[in-house]
């Protein structure tokens, strides 16, 4: 009963974010700094002006939260962030439309050659999860996960589990989590279209947790939700430690992109890299830099 209640609460929260038109897919932030964060060494009261940033929708919540905090620190600086996607963001930086961009991927050779530079501001990792009550497996190879999502493996028995069909939950095509999973797990393989589509990490966690024989994937911050069992991939457990030492396969850097850092932009990037900035990263269920 208690379990059902907590899953219900998660679903309700998912519903709440949808109703609120919220962009981020997090639970309520655990702590929000009540007042302006401690002034860092780079604080400069002469900062003022309007700045336009833009790029990845995945990094959007981090940048937007940092901008919110900055409003109190530098009331004369007005920053806008447009979530136009990584590629458009990098283009915008190269064209001078944005003085700072954000990308949830690394630069392509041509982009680097044009003068774009990146700095990682956070890490993102995705765990493959199964319904803990019905799936006995605890490790899968990345290839097998890809085959499940391609619809080539349809029964747990083919992987050494019980004889029951695999219930596959996927994410909406445009989500950053989907994108990372596609890039790091699927590679060139196509997703099957028939899988049920969930609309957020919370929704995914609730549905996999409540559906027998289900498999899904969530951001690392969600693996301890009720009814979920995170799988090891290629024998490597999904944990922050393995993300930091680089052995966990499904991870990526979240970057800021620029050609040349202006004074204010430099201070802004330093702010995200500071302890306050990394706290924001952790609050949003991304992984702070080691």
């Amino acid at each position: 009963m208690e379990k059902r209640l907590s899953v219900m609460i998660v679903l309700l929260m998912v519903a709440a974010t949808i109703f609120a038109g919220g962009k981020q897919e997090t639970q309520a932030p655990v702590t929000a700094p009540a007042s302006a964060p401690a002034v860092t060494a780079t604080y400069d009261s002469t900062f003022k002006g309007d700045l336009a940033f833009g790029g990845s929708t995945t990094v959007d919540p981090i940048i937007t939260a940092a901008i919110e905090e900055w409003k109190e620190l530098y009331p004369n600086v007005h920053i806008s962030y447009e979530g136009v996607g990584s590629s458009t963001g990098i283009k915008g930086v190269l064209a001078g439309t944005y003085s700072l961009g954000a990308a949830s991927r690394e630069l392509k050779a041509a982009e680097a050659a044009s003068g774009a530079v990146t700095t990682a501001v956070a890490l993102d990792a995705i765990a493959v999860v199964v319904n803990s009550n019905s799936v006995s497996l605890s490790n899968l190879s990345v290839e097998d996960v890809a085959k499940i999502y391609a619809g080539e493996i349809t029964n747990w028995k083919e992987l050494g589990g019980a004889d029951s069909s695999i219930v596959v939950f996927n994410r909406d095509e445009a989500s950053g989590t989907y994108e990372t999973f596609e890039k790091k797990v699927m590679g060139k393989t196509e997703f099957m279209k028939a899988a049920s589509v969930t609309t957020g990490n919370g929704d995914m966690a609730a549905k996999v947790g409540a559906t027998p024989n289900a498999i899904g994937y969530v951001g690392l911050g969600f693996i301890s939700e009720k009814g979920l069992k995170p799988l090891s991939l290629n024998g490597v457990e999904a944990s922050i430690k393995n993300v930091y030492n680089g052995t966990y396969a499904v991870q990526r850097n979240l970057n800021v992109v620029f050609t040349e850092l202006g004074k204010i932009e430099d201070a802004f990037v330093n702010y995200i890299l500071s302890k306050d900035g990394q706290d924001i990263v952790a609050d949003l269920d991304f992984i702070p830099l080691p």
Partner: protein, 296 residues
């Protein structure tokens, strides 16, 4: 006479008129907004391809915007929900207006009012935690999500609309018709089936069409139970995605200013036209019903 009205009376009249304009302005504003945001899609995407293709891959390298699967999904789910709701709704309406004693009538009415007031998220939760496991146990469906579960939930959601309009229309049938039928020796049941329901037909149909509108526009509840795969539904147990679900699912992540975002507004236009058409139907049947009961 008008000139004698105190000035504050005229002020109140003016204020009330302005308030009355709020809804009209809103409707015009919303219409303008979705058409302005959605129509530019057809500069880049063929109109017929948008409506007649079922390949929805808005973020692929070679993007494709086909919403046929969602149109069919909406129509499919709505149709099944009405197949479930119409018999139950009309039967309940007949019971309330013709059979129930005041005590029962009041109990049932309170239940229906409650049903109408439950937020759709709760219907979604109920569907996911109660209906889906039952469907999972009774059928070959692995998830218990899909067309059937969504239709059952929608069916329950539109019941109050159908029950209320049925009851009101039956009560509005002229007393002489009923008495005439009974006087000719028809049984009570024959009177209901052959006289009352045909006489109240337009009103009942208007209620059903209102139900269609509610069913096709519902978002939250179906989002939680329909499975949400962007595929053509293949049967009652197949996952499906409706027009409303498509907008909610993709809008959160669609890149601002992208064709993908525009296509969601265009999906909204299609939904808008559906609803407009349904409203015209309701209007037509309401008018007919009024004429009939006034004996024209």
């Amino acid at each position: 006479m008008k000139n004698d009205t105190p000035s504050h009376e005229r002020f109140i009249e003016l204020m009330l008129f302005l308030f009355a304009c709020v809804s009209i302005i809103s409707v015009i504003g919303i219409t303008f907004f979705i058409f302005e945001e959605g129509l530019p899609l057809f500069v880049h995407v063929n109109f017929f391809e948008f409506l007649l293709s079922s390949d929805w891959s808005p973020t692929a390298d070679n993007p494709s915007f086909g919403i046929l699967a969602f149109i069919i999904g909406s129509i499919f789910v709505t149709t099944i929900s009405l197949i479930i709701a119409v018999p139950i709704g009309i039967a309940t309406g007949v019971f309330m207006s013709e059979y129930a004693n005041p005590k029962w009538s009041s109990i049932v009415r309170k239940g229906i009012e409650l049903l109408a007031g439950i937020p759709s998220v709760i219907y979604g939760l109920f569907g996911f935690f109660f209906i889906a496991p039952i469907i999972r146990t009774l059928t070959s469906s692995d998830t218990g999500l899909g067309v059937l579960t969504a239709s059952i939930i929608l069916g329950i959601m539109v019941l109050p609309t159908i029950i209320n309009t049925t009851e009101v229309s039956l009560r509005a049938v002229p007393r002489e018709l009923k008495e005439g039928s009974l006087a000719l020796g028809a049984t009570y049941w024959q009177t209901i089936i052959r006289t009352l329901i045909p006489a109240a037909r337009s009103g009942i149909i208007a209620g059903i069409v209102l139900g269609i509108g509610r069913s096709i526009g519902e978002t939250m509840a179906v989002l939680m139970v329909a499975g949400n795969s962007p595929i053509m539904p293949k049967g009652l147990l197949s996952n499906t995605r409706t027009l409303t679900m498509n907008i909610v699912t993709d809008l959160k992540y669609a890149e601002v200013g992208s064709l993908h975002e525009t296509s969601l507004f265009t999906t909204g236009i299609v939904l808008f036209i559906f609803i407009l058409f349904i409203n015209l139907l309701v209007h037509y049947f309401m008018k007919k019903s009024l004429e009939r009961t006034q004996g024209k």
